[in-house]
């Protein structure tokens, strides 16, 4: 154990020697592979068809031979028994205690089954996140999300309880009521999507409350890449006077990554997950830093509906730096950079929607909301950026637009049409925002 063991939830794993960590990953991969092979009809068929069985996984290299799964396969299996999860299920239905589903933004929702042990595992993963972000039993954490069928911050709730925090569930309250409750109870932290965190600051101002006066010390963001985009994080930190930390997770996967108090990259919880980054063109696994690829992920300890080599389509890259916190869990740089199916060629240039966000959020004169619409006129792609100028800044409109166009060209190598909308008129989101619309595909 290291001298600073108090900053770690579990120093045994978080500071484990890299070689041992890799060896642990191989052993845990074998364990979940064997479990899935023996208990899930879906996986058994998948692996038998590929001619691979548990005894074949001997080295780290062998993992690459294991077939990947994707969201389409998760959806298809749902049409089979047992209802409603299908034959990927690896435990008797009577052991399932939790139902959650994906939001369905990319198609039919995926239904996720968890046993109580899996649910405990979910909150254990979140405990790593919260502890690394400085949450302790002195915190009063407010959770402003609709406690419903989406996994959202459910596991955050249970993990915070595990840490000994006092948890205030802000479920069915509206935004105003949530702000008033946070103020009344002197909450020290809250967790939400970056979009909603910014929206809450707006609403607070509208009802005459300066967000900074509430006394929030830290905010954990998830659901969107915003908190890993420096301009967006700065905007949130300036609005709330709090430290902002990112976290990445997904319903089908679990809570696999977190920013620690150093606020540099995001650590992958490599004791609980195997993250592989695949070159989208060659299919090779990328080990070198700062090279983008799509994430293939395995959750080692989720048993009801195992997640083994799941092609998440999230584009990420390994960082080229070590974190000062001394965790040996490798970092990814910049969070989720985009979706393999969102990063698209426009006018022959590869465009990641996060690059646009980085530019827009750097303009103090612009509101938090924007929208990007890509269309095709004849053979020519067209990008329209819709923005709002903050009240009081309208007189500088021409200067703002010129600087914005210049910055966008520098950052993305593309020209944009910009449409200015009245302040407050673009859609506001409470969960995941859908700001990038590629209408060429429809």
């Amino acid at each position: 154990m290291t001298k600073n063991s108090s900053i770690y939830w579990n120093p045994l794993l978080e500071t484990m020697d890299r070689e041992k960590l890799r060896s642990l990953q191989l052993k845990k991969f074998k364990r979940i592979f064997e479990w899935a092979y023996n208990n899930s009809p879906f996986y058994k068929k998948l692996y038998k068809d590929a001619g691979i069985e548990p005894g074949d996984i001997k080295t780290y290299e062998d993992i690459k031979r294991v077939p990947k799964i994707d969201k389409g396969m998760l959806r298809n299996t749902q049409s089979k028994e047992p209802f409603p999860y299908g034959d990927m299920l690896a435990v008797p239905l009577t052991e399932v205690t939790e139902f959650r589903q994906t939001s369905g933004t990319t198609g039919t929702p995926v239904y996720q089954a968890d046993t109580w042990q899996d649910w405990e595992w979910w909150s254990e993963c979140w405990a790593y996140i919260l502890y690394a972000q400085g949450y302790r039993d002195t915190d009063r954490l407010f959770l402003p999300f609709g406690y419903n069928i989406f996994v959202a911050f459910w596991a955050c709730h249970y993990a915070a309880e595990k840490l000994g925090c006092e948890v205030v569930p802000g479920g069915v309250l509206d935004t105003e009521a949530r702000i008033l409750k946070m103020q009344e109870l002197k909450c020290t932290a809250f967790a939400a999507t970056p979009t909603y965190v910014l929206g809450m600051a707006d609403t607070a101002m509208k009802i005459g409350i300066e967000p900074k006066s509430i006394g929030i010390k830290k905010i954990t963001c998830a659901g969107e890449p915003g908190a890993s985009i420096p301009a967006t994080r700065k905007r949130i930190e300036d609005a709330w006077g709090a430290k902002v930390y990112d976290h990445i997770g997904a319903t089908e996967i679990g809570a696999w990554s977190y920013m620690c108090t150093v606020q540099k990259g995001l650590h992958v919880n490599e004791a609980f997950f195997l993250v592989e980054i695949e070159d989208t063109e060659t299919g090779e696994i990328i080990e070198e830093p700062m090279k983008n690829g799509k994430m293939i992920i395995t959750a080692f300890d989720r048993y009801a509906k195992p997640c083994i080599r799941f092609d998440s389509k999230d584009v990420i890259r390994w960082a080229d730096y070590d974190c000062e916190c001394d965790r040996t869990f490798r970092c990814i740089d910049g969070g989720v950079i985009g979706r393999a199916d969102d990063i698209t060629k426009v006018k022959g240039v590869l465009l990641a929607p996060t690059a646009i966000e980085e530019v827009v959020r750097d303009f103090e004169e612009l509101s938090d909301e924007y929208e990007v619409i890509v269309t095709k006129k004849g053979d020519i792609d067209d990008i329209m950026l819709k923005i709002e100028i903050k009240p009081g800044c309208e007189s500088r409109k021409e200067d703002i637009l010129k600087r914005l166009k210049d910055q966008l060209r520098v950052k993305t190598n593309l020209g944009y049409k910009i449409e200015v909308h009245p302040f407050g008129s673009l859609p506001r989101y409470t969960l995941k925002a859908k700001r990038f619309k590629d209408l060429r595909k429809h």
Partner: protein
């Protein structure tokens, strides 16, 4: 005590808890209140295994 010794000791205790859970289950499998609370206990024990016993695999 070295870290490895400490892990060994904790792991032994975890095994003892698991054994105790199984014994209680055997004694009281007809009592729903015990059976269902043991499910929760097992899940918590599993988290101890993930955090400590798994480390033994690479010691």
């Amino acid at each position: 005590m070295t870290v490895d010794d400490k892990i060994d000791k904790i792991d032994e205790k975890i095994k003892e808890i698991k054994k105790a859970v199984s014994e209680i289950e055997r004694l009281a499998s007809d009592i729903e209140a015990i059976k269902k609370n043991l499910v929760r206990l097992r899940a918590s024990v599993k988290m101890l295994e993930l955090n400590v016993s798994d480390v033994k695999m690479v010691m």
